[in-house]
Every structure is written in C-alpha cells, then in structure tokens.
C-alpha cells in the first residue's frame, strides 16, 4: 500500500455531493478512481514559494486522466478555468477534464437522477455532501481516520474561491471522518466556512 492508496475501511470526505455521486457512477461502471491524489502548484512568488495550487477532484489511473467537477454557476467558473489553464501550461503532460455544473446535471438527467440533478448545483449540494453516506469502494463511511495517517497533499497555500462548506458541527452532525488526502486543505476550508446552511 502506498501513500496514495485509501486506508481500508475508509472513504473520502467529499467536499460536494456531486463528487460523491460521480464516485458512485465510477464505482458502478467499475472504473478505478482516486480522490484528490495530487496537488499541483500553479503559482509561485518571487522567492519561488507556492502561493496557489490546484488539486483536481478525481484521478482515473486506468486512463491517466484527472477529472475536476465544478458545481458553480457557469458565470462563476472563470477562476476555475484560469486554474485549469495554468495547470495545462505548467504540466502539459497531465490530462484533465473539467465537468461544468451543466454537464454534470445533464449526466444526472441522463441517468434518471432527477432529484439529484436539481439539488446538486451550488451551495445546496455542499450541504448535502455532509449528510450523505454514500456506499463507496473502500468501505464504510463510519469511524475516525487512522491515527498517524500521512497526508498526500503538501502543505501548500491554496487560494480557493469556491463557496464555503457548511460546518458539520454547526449542522448538528458528527464531524465527518476525514482522510489523509488533503486534510490540511479541508481544515483551512472549515475555518473559513459559514456556519449556517438552509
């Protein structure tokens, strides 16, 4: 087992319900995936320190393809597109596909997931991710993360312009189990999160 392999009995703490749904779709079609396995530095200051990085949501090892989901409204994806352009400039050998909200909604409609199609856009989908208990490859979503699990994400600063994730504690739920993948990044998100969700 390498640092990129999920710990048995755990499942990723998806930042958005759309990510959990895509994971289910990939599992259904028996396509292997990894969640945020790699963070790419994409902006550096004059001293060479990383000031912005980008961690695509999924990696499909069988196809050497990264997949990034964005559930933002089409008018708000400029920042995501910029990050993607920068990544492609700096890492031309990295294959990555961006799924826009409209693309993913169309996919859900195709699969008859009408309920999710309407709810998985914007911030509402983020709240759902905290409540969802998807059945995923890798086992049960229950239980705390293993002690001492290394994180695969470097401690690079990240400028995230995406809507904040509602705090699980503020929702009256148990704090979701986190994985070692991108734990520091998710901790920074929670510190910036708005505490209430409709």
């Amino acid at each position: 087992m390498t640092a990129l392999d999920p710990v048995p009995g755990t499942a990723p703490n998806f930042a958005h319900a759309s990510e959990a749904e895509l994971a289910r779709i990939l599992d259904y079609y028996q396509v292997e995936w990894r969640y945020e396995p790699r963070t790419f530095p994409i902006l550096f200051n004059l001293d060479g320190a990383v000031v912005e990085s980008f961690a695509p949501d999924f990696y499909l090892p069988e196809f050497d393809l990264y997949v990034e989901l964005t559930t933002l409204k089409q008018s708000l994806v400029r920042k995501k597109n910029r990050k993607l352009r920068r990544l492609r400039e700096l890492y031309p050998d990295v294959r990555i596909k961006l799924f826009y909200a409209r693309d993913f909604k169309a996919l859900l409609l195709k699969y008859g997931r009408f309920d999710l199609a309407a709810s998985l856009s914007g911030e509402e989908g983020q709240a759902r991710a905290l409540a969802a208990t998807p059945t995923l490859e890798g086992g049960s979503p229950e239980g705390p993360p293993p002690e001492g699990s290394p994180s695969s994400a470097p401690e690079a600063a990240s400028i995230e312009g995406e809507p904040a994730i509602g705090s699980a504690a503020a929702l009256g739920q148990d704090v979701p189990r986190s994985t070692r993948h991108g734990r520091a990044r998710r901790a920074r998100r929670r510190r910036r999160a708005a505490p209430t969700v409709a």
Partner: protein, 186 residues
C-alpha cells in the same frame, strides 16, 4: 411532461431521416469493403441501437451474423439492487475467434462502452471494433477508439431513431433535440 404528439417535444431536428439513411449506406459500404472475405458479427447494444442495427445490417453486402446484448444503466433499478453494472442480456452465441463489431446508438461518457469492451475482449474475439451512429464527446470520461462514426454531435439531449427519454421517442425517424422543459433541463 410530454405531449401526446411526440414531435411537439422536439425543439429541432439535429439529423434528418435522409441524413441518417445516407450515413448508414456509407458506413455499410465501408464495412463491406473493410471486412471483405470475412464474416462479421454485429453486436447491438439494446435498446437504443436497434433501428441503427437493423438499417446497418441491410446496408452491408458481406455475410453477417447478429447478436444482441443489454447492459444495465446507472440510475435504473439495477443501481439499487447491486450497485454495479451488469449484463442484463448476454450474447446468445460464442464470439471466440470471430470478427466482432459493437453497434452503438450513441457514445457519451464512454463508461458503458468501456465496460462492454472489457467484457467482450475476455471472450477472445479475433477482432473487436466499434461503430456508433452518434458520438457526443463533450462529456467523455473514457477515451475509446471509435472505428466507425456516423455523426459527431454537440452536447444536447437527443432522442429519436432508437434513442429515448423515459422509453419514449425511439420511434421518431430522425435525431431530434428534446425540449428542456420535457426533461427538466435548463
């Protein structure tokens, strides 16, 4: 909510009946030339590819055999029961050592076809190639080499000529774009 007159649910005709028939004839000619001297097995992926398969086989002049398969789709009843894609209807004959052509109506994400290719490869065909009437690459997750392609179409919800929405519209003789209000799109 659909209209009793299904044509009223179609916003525009993307590929006309005449265009489809011309393309089918073209593909049939190419297949006849490429597989000359050999026997070709067409494997139709139910249900959407049925009209295309029926027309295509009649446009091929060399000997052909046909078979039908059905694969469960994500979001259907199979999703709830097993959580994994599965073969709902398998081949009725062996394809060991045969030249096989998968006949698809549309390739979208490529997930279904990827599974099918892996499954059929395991049955040791002599060759395994892919023919699709429609190629919609906008949401492609799995890159698959398409050997015979009818039309590359934009990212629109299409029905007709075998393609459905809620099991309807398959009998339309053309490929049309479904009105967003019918399927809840925007």
């Amino acid at each position: 909510m659909h209209h009793a007159d299904l044509t009223a649910d179609v916003a525009e005709i993307l590929v006309s009946e005449a265009q489809i028939q011309a393309k089918v004839a073209e593909l049939g000619g190419r297949l006849s030339a490429d597989y000359a001297g050999r026997e070709l097995t067409l494997v139709s992926v139910l249900k959407g590819s049925l009209p295309f398969m029926a027309d295509l086989m009649r446009a091929i002049s060399i000997p052909v055999t046909i078979d039908l398969m059905e694969v469960s789709s994500y979001g259907g009843a199979a999703t709830e029961s097993s959580g994994l894609v599965r073969i709902l209807k398998d081949l009725s004959s062996s394809i060991d050592g045969r030249d096989v052509l998968i006949v698809e109506d549309i390739i979208d994400t490529g997930l279904t076809l990827n599974y099918l290719v892996r499954y059929l490869t395991g049955k040791a065909p002599r060759t395994l190639r892919i023919c699709t009437l429609l190629d919609k690459p906008a949401r492609r997750l799995v890159e698959i080499e398409i050997d015979y392609r009818g039309f590359e179409i934009p990212d629109q919800f299409v029905v007709g000529y075998g393609l459905d929405y809620g099991e309807l519209y398959r009998n339309l003789p053309y490929i049309g774009v479904l009105r967003p209000e019918v399927y809840g799109g925007t």
